[in-house]
């Protein structure tokens, strides 16, 4: 069965992570994604680390696409771009506000040419206001967006997430939501539309449940280490073997099962801990008690008992073991991380598909090309002769 977005073409003018990851997901859903780069190449080529000379970010954010190079500052290439856009369904760009308009590919221009076009403008800080023209990358959005203020050891300032792509890709996934909504609406209206989204709003939306605490109390939620603010117990406990066990009692039926599993039946009947709100109110008393108790047996002991009782738990691995993780049966059986054969970079471990459609499966995941690798192929499809010496000279992949 073809993918859900079979027959949908995406003109992808986006750079770095936010836009590219969104159009990659559209590609994995079956769309024909044409990634358009300038001869100089997009931003991600210089971000470390590389694999066999190509930036991992570039590899990773560009599966299921065909890569072409157009010099949009040249009249001829701009005309080619417009031809492609005329036959596209979706247009994705995340340049700074004003930049795409200067290239003559703003929404006002291209929607005249193709009224069915769903056009995405993604920005860091929005398209109006004093910060609109500032560049935003994941760490600046982490810092500005309040995200760090609730994460860290108790009593700390709050810290960054040292995997610097989460808020980028969160924004990407929200772009995909909006594009799908607009494609669905288009089935009814026959018309495309302009979608705007920004990374700060995306970061705040992702923090909805934590910002709710602030709005309710007027007070900043503090970093709490591994602990959850509104469910208790829901944190890591150090065990006899000096390893940590993450435990989460997240529904009322789990509480008595938890108490029995750890051999503390009397806690079930303790009115201080009878409901989650009570446990949150009496957090320090309960946690002190549990901290002492968990120290009496090794992680494995507790884990077996809690697992048997159906209480969420896992050992927090302290030493990194990527090889173990990617070979973990839970990961491999569900294809959460998969191996991908590529012509340029060998076999890579890559992110699996986030959804499993039973009739129209997404994927298969295909590696994208090098910069401009499919220029000729794509232009030929559009009936454009690509074999000018000038063009071939420009298609050389970025040396860096």
């Amino acid at each position: 069965m073809p993918g859900i977005l079979d027959g949908i073409r995406v003109f992808d003018l986006s750079i770095a992570a936010v836009g590219p990851w969104a159009s990659k997901l559209l590609g994995e859903l079956g769309a024909d994604v044409i990634k358009v780069e300038s001869p100089g190449g997009e931003l991600s080529h210089v971000i470390p680390p590389p694999i066999k000379g190509t930036a991992v970010l570039y590899i990773s954010a560009n599966f299921n696409k065909r890569n072409i190079v157009l010099d949009l500052k040249e009249e001829g290439d701009r005309a080619i771009a417009l031809k492609l856009v005329e036959k596209s369904d979706v247009f994705v760009q995340n340049m700074r506000p004003g930049a795409v308009e200067r290239l003559g590919l703003g929404y006002d221009v291209v929607s005249q040419l193709n009224p069915r076009l769903v056009y995405v403008s993604a920005s860091a800080y929005g398209r109006t206001g004093a910060m609109a023209k500032e560049a935003g990358i994941d760490p600046t959005v982490q810092a500005f967006g309040g995200w760090c203020s609730i994460t860290g050891a108790p009593g700390s300032q709050g810290e960054m997430f040292r995997h610097l792509a989460h808020l980028d890709i969160t924004t990407s996934t929200m772009i995909v939501e909006a594009v799908l909504q607009a494609l669905l609406a288009r089935e009814r209206s026959g018309k495309g539309q302009h979608i705007e989204i920004d990374m700060i709003s995306a970061a705040m939306s992702l923090q909805t449940s934590r910002l709710a605490e602030y709005f309710a109390t007027g007070e900043q939620p503090q970093p709490m280490g591994s602990a959850a603010a509104t469910t208790v117990p829901h944190q890591a406990f150090v065990c006899e073997d000096q390893e940590y066990l993450a435990v989460g009692v997240v529904s009322e039926d789990q509480w008595p099962r938890f108490c029995r599993a750890i051999g503390q039946e009397t806690l079930c009947d303790d009115p201080r801990f009878a409901t989650n709100p009570k446990r949150v109110e009496n957090r320090s008393a309960l946690v002190a008690l549990l901290e002492d108790h968990f120290k009496t047996k090794p992680t494995r002991w507790w884990s077996l008992r809690l697992t048997q009782a159906g209480v969420p738990n896992t050992r927090v691995e302290r030493t990194v073991n990527f090889q173990t993780l990617r070979a973990d049966p839970q990961v491999t059986r569900n294809q959460h991380i998969v191996d991908l054969e590529t012509p340029h970079w060998g076999t890579l471990s890559v992110d699996g598909l986030p959804w499993k459609f039973e009739k129209n499966p997404a994927g298969p995941i295909r590696p994208g090309g090098l910069q401009g690798e499919q220029t000729e192929e794509v232009l030929r499809e559009f009936g454009i002769a690509a074999e000018t010496p000038e063009r071939n000279g420009r298609d050389k992949r970025l040396e860096s």
Binding site: P49, I150, A246
Partner: protein, 400 residues
């Protein structure tokens, strides 16, 4: 103006954070969401304090624009009513856990017998296959299993989680995509299907760049790789807070002026600062090593002064915001993301609004989060039940 999902009805059995975040996004986009709660209510109603007029702030933040029907689907009558509602709806969203919907007679195979075009989305904690398929999940447990705790905190000390509920909320976004994609396919091709997402799968997808980085990188520095070895990153300390900054443009004179202003002329020729500080800031190779040098210079400057200085040098800089400074920031006002919503008990509460701006089919907040069972009678009357029927069901503890 109608929303993109106007006219579609979703029967939502989910509780907690993940599923309700998904269905709220679809409701914002115009779908009618009928939230089926057990008679004791969604577990999120017990998350807290904080509570606002007896309702959990977390619950309120995730359930606007929905109707609540309190219905015990484990009873024969309850199941029958659920099926009647589903037969008239377009989408089912559930998080019962693999295999459990089938046991309740609410599995896709059963439902699609009478409703061929149903779009059915199931959310699980770890995926529907594998040794952990039957285990319940919790935010911290999934974060730890997906390796997130390794990009936070200090080596050898207690684990730290992301304060944001990413396992739940990022997965909610994937579910929202999956459902809209399923509806798009149904509108185009006339067929429904089952689609699944999982919390572990989502978090591992979000970290895909990491898995690829670790496969076989050309060199072992770069921001995606050293999260395991670096200390917590709190940004750059200034006189009155912390900032994040990056230098990557600017001219030679700008650079000299900046270093002179900061009293760092000794470092102008330091190879770690070459390229106008590009490798000495932000995600640069030497950034962690030279951080104390920048911080010495920032001691006498406020956040605002550092930001201004870096901007003059055409770099990017932002202050670290906590929630109060974020929500009071003029740029956030530009984004129009903070919304005041009516509280079911009267006064309004503040929350995060829809994140996308779809020009022709805008998302909207139309109704407050429901009290438990607020719409039971209204919705069941729509199935042709009269007061006597409702009384009988209420007495039999099927509804409330």
């Amino acid at each position: 103006m109608p929303g993109a999902l106007d006219g579609f009805t979703i029967i939502d059995f989910t509780q907690g954070l993940c599923g309700p975040f998904a269905s709220m996004r679809l409701a914002d986009a115009g779908a009618e969401v009928i939230k089926i709660e057990p008679l004791g209510g969604d577990t999120a109603r017990t998350m807290g304090p904080p509570f606002i007029q007896d309702e959990s702030a977390v619950f309120l933040s995730l359930n606007r624009n929905k109707k609540s029907v309190a219905l015990d689907v484990t009873t024969q009558d309850g199941r029958k009513i659920a099926r009647q509602l589903i037969d008239r709806a377009d989408v089912v969203l559930e998080d019962f856990g693999p295999g459990r919907a089938e046991k309740l007679g609410l599995g896709y195979a059963d439902l699609s017998q009478t409703h061929e075009t149903l779009v059915y989305c199931a959310i699980s904690a770890f995926g529907e296959e594998g040794p952990l398929r039957d285990q319940p999940g919790a935010e911290l447990v999934v974060q730890a299993m997906a390796d997130y705790t390794h990009s936070l905190g200090k080596i050898g000390e207690a684990p730290v989680r992301l304060g944001t509920d990413v396992a739940s909320l990022n997965t909610g976004i994937m579910a929202s995509q999956a459902i809209t994609a399923g509806l798009f396919h149904r509108v185009r091709k006339g067929e429904g299907q089952r689609v699944t997402v999982s919390m572990l799968g989502t978090l591992l997808h979000m970290r895909g760049i990491m898995w690829t980085s670790m496969t076989d990188p050309d060199e072992w520095y770069g921001f995606h790789l050293d999260h395991y070895t670096r200390p917590p990153d709190e940004g750059y300390k200034t006189k009155d807070g912390h900032v994040y900054f990056g230098l990557r443009r600017g001219s030679s004179e700008d650079w000299d002026r900046l270093m002179l202003t900061l009293g760092l002329t000794d470092y102008i020729t330091d190879p770690r600062f070459q390229g106008f500080g590009r490798e000495a800031t932000s995600i640069g190779r030497y950034a962690p090593e030279v951080k104390p040098i920048w911080e010495r210079a920032f001691q006498q400057l406020t956040n605002a002064e550092v930001v201004k200085l870096v901007h003059e040098f055409h770099g990017d800089a932002v202050p670290f915001n906590d929630y109060p400074t974020l929500c009071a920031h003029p740029q956030v006002a530009e984004l129009d993301i903070l919304k005041d919503v009516d509280h079911p008990a009267g006064e309004s509460f503040r929350t995060i609004g829809p994140v996308w701006n779809l020009a022709d089919t805008p998302a909207e907040i139309k109704s407050p989060p429901p009290t438990l069972g607020q719409h039971t009678d209204e919705v069941l009357s729509g199935l042709g039940m009269n007061a006597t029927d409702l009384q009988r069901l209420r007495t039999a503890r099927v509804i409330s």
